[in-house]
């Protein structure tokens, strides 16, 4: 019943279910053996740029990326 008890914890830490499940997925990926491990980790790379809009004007876009430029 560990998972049931965990629900309020990650939720109160400000995580959504998506973040939570991503962390879990990453843990599982780290459990793989070597050739598959780096392959699986390299496959899941995040890169995009996001900008918020206020009153019809875009703010400066922030780039979210886990690959160093």
């Amino acid at each position: 019943m560990a998972s049931t008890a965990a629900v309020p914890f990650w939720r109160s830490a400000g995580m959504t279910y998506i973040t939570y499940s991503n962390i879990c997925a990453n843990l599982v990926r780290n459990c793989l053996k070597e050739p598959y491990k780096s392959e699986a980790i390299n496959r899941e790379k995040v890169h995009f740029s996001v900008s918020k809009w206020t009153d019809g004007k875009p703010e400066k876009p922030t780039i979210r990326s886990d690959t160093p430029e």
């Binding site: 019943m1 991503n22 997925a25 899941e44 790379k45 995040v46 995009f48 900008s51 918020k52 809009w53």
Partner: protein
């Protein structure tokens, strides 16, 4: 003496030769009209240059088509596999595009790059229509835009309604982690009662269905399930663990959104490549047609100048003999 006669003769013939020359040069370029007196041949340099540039453009479009075709093949399999992600959700919660709620968020999925036919304008058009349909005195709709091209089109008339734009999605290969981080960002930054995701569903290389997928917020799902209908069956499922129904629904909604987004982005990327392929195919065909026409005009002009020269020589010789 004889030479002087010939010169006079040829000057008399000039008006007969010249009009045809100027008409033909009109076809090619207006500034060819100042052909000097006595210059018999027309310069075909301009046509030759044009032919060269058309040929180069054709080469480029052909190469782009090849690139799009190979990218399409890779992404098509993934898009088709990702359909299995949202289908269980539709089976469980149903798809309710007609639900009327206060806060609508329209997620427009478009591409970053152009030259791919009309897929971006279709998804923008559908988004605008959804915006109009869901507009009301106490209802509001906001846009979240994925991709540079959709942004460029929606900036023109709906600046005020944009809350978030996301670009540069396809720098790395599209993967679930990336899309889920995007979905997470959207969920954290907008308040919604219903998320309506607009994308082009890939059907075949030449046909893309503009599609909307609706993700409702947990409160709305609860309200709808009490009202009955397809969502009403939710109570008949056995839920493991000690969570309350609203907690389960919230988790479910978040996960559903990321799954639907993943499928939407993949389908749209697939449609983009397909559309680019057919657009590049038709443009290389058009370039070929243009090249044919130019070649014809070029050869005809060349032939005409040869004929003119020949007739001038012959008439000159005839004048000398007579």
């Amino acid at each position: 003496m004889a030479m002087a006669v010939a010169r006079r003769e040829s000057r008399r013939l000039m008006p007969l030769v010249n009009p045809s020359v100027s008409i033909r040069s009109n076809l090619i370029s207006p500034n060819q009209e100042q052909v000097g007196l006595g210059v018999r041949s027309i310069s075909t340099q301009i046509v030759r240059n044009r032919m060269k540039s058309v040929k180069n453009i054709q080469k480029i479009t052909k190469a782009m088509k090849m690139v799009a075709a190979s990218k399409l093949r890779a992404i098509q399999v993934r898009a088709e596999n990702s359909r299995g992600l949202w289908q269980p959700f539709t089976a469980l919660l149903g798809d309710t595009p007609s639900v009327a709620v206060k806060k609508n968020v329209i997620v427009t999925v478009s591409s970053d790059k152009g030259l791919c036919g009309g897929i971006n304008s279709t998804s923008v058009k559908i988004s605008r229509a959804l915006h109009k349909v869901n507009a009301g005195p106490d209802a509001e709709s906001k846009y979240v835009i994925l991709g540079e091209k959709g942004k460029a089109q929606l900036i023109r008339d709906s600046k005020k309604d944009i809350v978030l734009t996301l670009t540069e999605l396809q720098k790395n290969f599209l993967n679930y982690t990336q899309i889920s981080v995007i979905a997470d960002d959207i969920l954290k930054n907008v308040e919604f009662d219903a998320l309506r995701i607009v994308f082009n569903k890939f059907q075949s290389v030449v046909s893309f269905l503009p599609t909307t997928a609706t993700v409702l917020s947990p409160e709305i799902v609860e309200r709808e399930s009490e009202a009955g209908g397809k969502i009403g069956d939710l109570d008949s499922y056995e839920i493991e663990g000690g969570e309350t129904k609203s907690e389960v629904l919230q988790n479910l909604t978040e996960f559903q959104f990321s799954c639907v987004m993943f499928n939407a982005v993949l389908e749209n990327a697939c449609s983009e490549q397909g559309a680019r392929m057919s657009a590049m195919d038709s443009s290389s065909r058009n370039a070929g047609d243009m090249l044919d026409k130019l070649t014809l005009a070029y050869n005809r002009t060349r032939q005409a100048s040869i004929t003119t020269e020949l007739s001038e020589i012959i008439s000159g010789a005839a004048a000398l003999e007579g």
